[in-house]
Symmetry: C2
Subunit: 327 residues, 2 copies
């Protein structure tokens, strides 16, 4: 019996990944076309390439990766991430950023914190997707996400982060206008009275942003603008709170900004990894909206910017994924 | 085609519930034998009896219940709860206690707070069961549990309660002994240094009790006893913290105490309702262990105490459910 085209493609990929001498161009074009199920089975067929067993992976690294350039390592990571189930992907992003030593180096170089990845995962995914990531985290790391955040994060933002990753927001359309109005005032009052005290530790602010449904919050933000004449994120001086509001209010705008920072930066890998993270996680979700937002904000197509700022297989892979939302 | 015995039993029940003149004895014996699926379909077949549409229910109440004694109302509630899916049951318990005005009356009469029902739901259910209750809450009340707790509970215990109902604990056997030892000390230090400040608001205490897995916490509690020579719940002066520890450490002991209070009290319905709640929610789970614990603590079989303190159909129904765990 002849193999179906899909299986044939998978076979080709498996062959390609079992050693060197890969026809990388056709590989990329095949890879980006795979359905989620095919990605899974492909991943299982190449245990060495995708292994997360440290010894296996380190051996593979010693033997192969070291000879290749950093660009190939980025390409490799992007492929690994692309073939992962979205829940596992989010669980691993969360784990890495909670535990990575690089986090502290990063925090010294930049004013922001890469912990905002946790906000991205908690606020741009649906309630079920966030829950899926929490389940994957259990089975991979034998802890809960909130447990590790609460234990390992020492910053002022801890309470906000724990509340956001623990949330399971209602997703219906019901909005209570009275509450939206009164909580727009509560937020305004908290901002006005912060006076140097840290807004990110304010109980009302945390409660409202971490428990209300997204539709409810949109109503609250719009009342805030009516009352104060400004978007709420302009009034929030805290990076984490700004990220929270932007992730809830307009993920495409938020992701455009993250992409822009990553594309203009070549200093550290954490920032650069954001490029892969956003393209890989959004390719199947809202890539079209992100490309529209990016062009609107920065006046240049996202794909052109990627073309300009990246190289080799890494570039081709990102562009193939970025092409997925049409546009 | 002849009806299967199970369907025949359901038919009998449906007939019995469609009006008065019920042979209540045989009804009770049938009811308690129903599998969860049968309970559901039975419930759907008697919309008037089980209706949560307020108008329908109020009409039914006006027409029928008012003529009957309080004992029948208790019996009625118990049957309604017994036929509910456990997730819906927990969601409704949570909703009622968060919103019930009676809560405030209760708090004046007693020193404790009925909000401990939230702790019971958060800490004696499995992670999946708690999650199920959160899902049921979404569809029934168009909010999340944590949203309503955070908004409606004004007491000092708010942070603890929000953290507990949002938790999704890891349930594997892995325990980190180093962390158990160090957190036993952290808890000891928090208790010692509380000095009138409210322990229930202590960040470390909330973090440890709400995020660690139950096995991890058992190890922590046992190290606590080694270091301090006393069980940790004896050192906790706060009712909510005591309930949390007891629900995690030994649900049968916790439930025995709740039953004892309910059985000895005839003043208010909230306390009395705890009797129905515990018997109905645990009949299929750990009734055997609860009966063992109860007899050990109070020196009298639970069933004998129920026999003595309740009357009529309500009594018979509770006894039939309590008989489920063998013993």
């Amino acid at each position: 019996m002849a193999l179906s085209p899909a299986i044939q493609e998978c076979e080709l990929l498996i062959k390609a990944f079992s050693g060197f001498g890969v026809d990388e161009q056709s590989m990329i074009s095949l890879l980006t076309k795979l359905h989620p199920d095919q990605r899974q089975s492909f991943r299982k067929s190449c245990p060495r390439f995708f292994s997360h067993d440290d010894r296996l992976f380190e051996k593979w690294e010693r033997d192969h990766i070291k000879q290749l350039e950093i660009e190939f390592s980025r390409f490799n990571k992007a492929v690994v991430l692309w073939t992962m189930h979205p829940w596992e992907r989010d669980a691993r992003f969360a784990y890495e950023i909670i535990h990575k030593d690089a986090r502290f180096t990063y925090e010294i170089i930049h004013k922001g914190s890469p912990l905002s990845i946790l906000i991205e995962i908690a606020c741009t995914r649906s309630s079920e997707e966030l829950l899926g990531a929490r389940k994957a985290y259990h089975s991979l790391f034998k802890h809960s996400i909130e447990e590790d955040v609460a234990y390992d994060v020492k910053e002022d933002s801890r309470s906000l982060l724990v509340a956001l990753v623990s949330s399971y927001r209602y997703e219906g359309l019901d909005v209570n206008t009275e509450i939206a109005k009164s909580e727009a005032k509560t937020l305004g009052k908290a901002i006005k009275e912060a006076n140097g005290k840290k807004l990110v530790e304010n109980e009302d602010v945390i409660r409202i942003l971490s428990t209300r449904s997204k539709f409810q919050l949109m109503a609250t933000f719009s009342h805030y603008k009516e009352i104060h004449g400004k978007d709420i994120d302009e009034d929030l001086e805290d990076d984490f709170l700004q990220a929270t509001v932007q992730c809830i209010y307009s993920p495409p705008t938020y992701f455009s900004k993250v992409l822009e920072v990553a594309l203009n930066n070549d200093v550290d890998e954490i920032t650069k990894e954001a490029l892969t993270r956003v393209i890989v996680t959004r390719a199947d979700v809202d890539m079209k909206e992100i490309k529209e937002a990016y062009q609107k904000i920065y006046g240049i197509p996202l794909t052109e910017k990627i073309e300009r700022e990246t190289r080799g297989n890494f570039k081709d892979f990102l562009l193939a994924l970025a092409a997925k939302g049409g546009y």
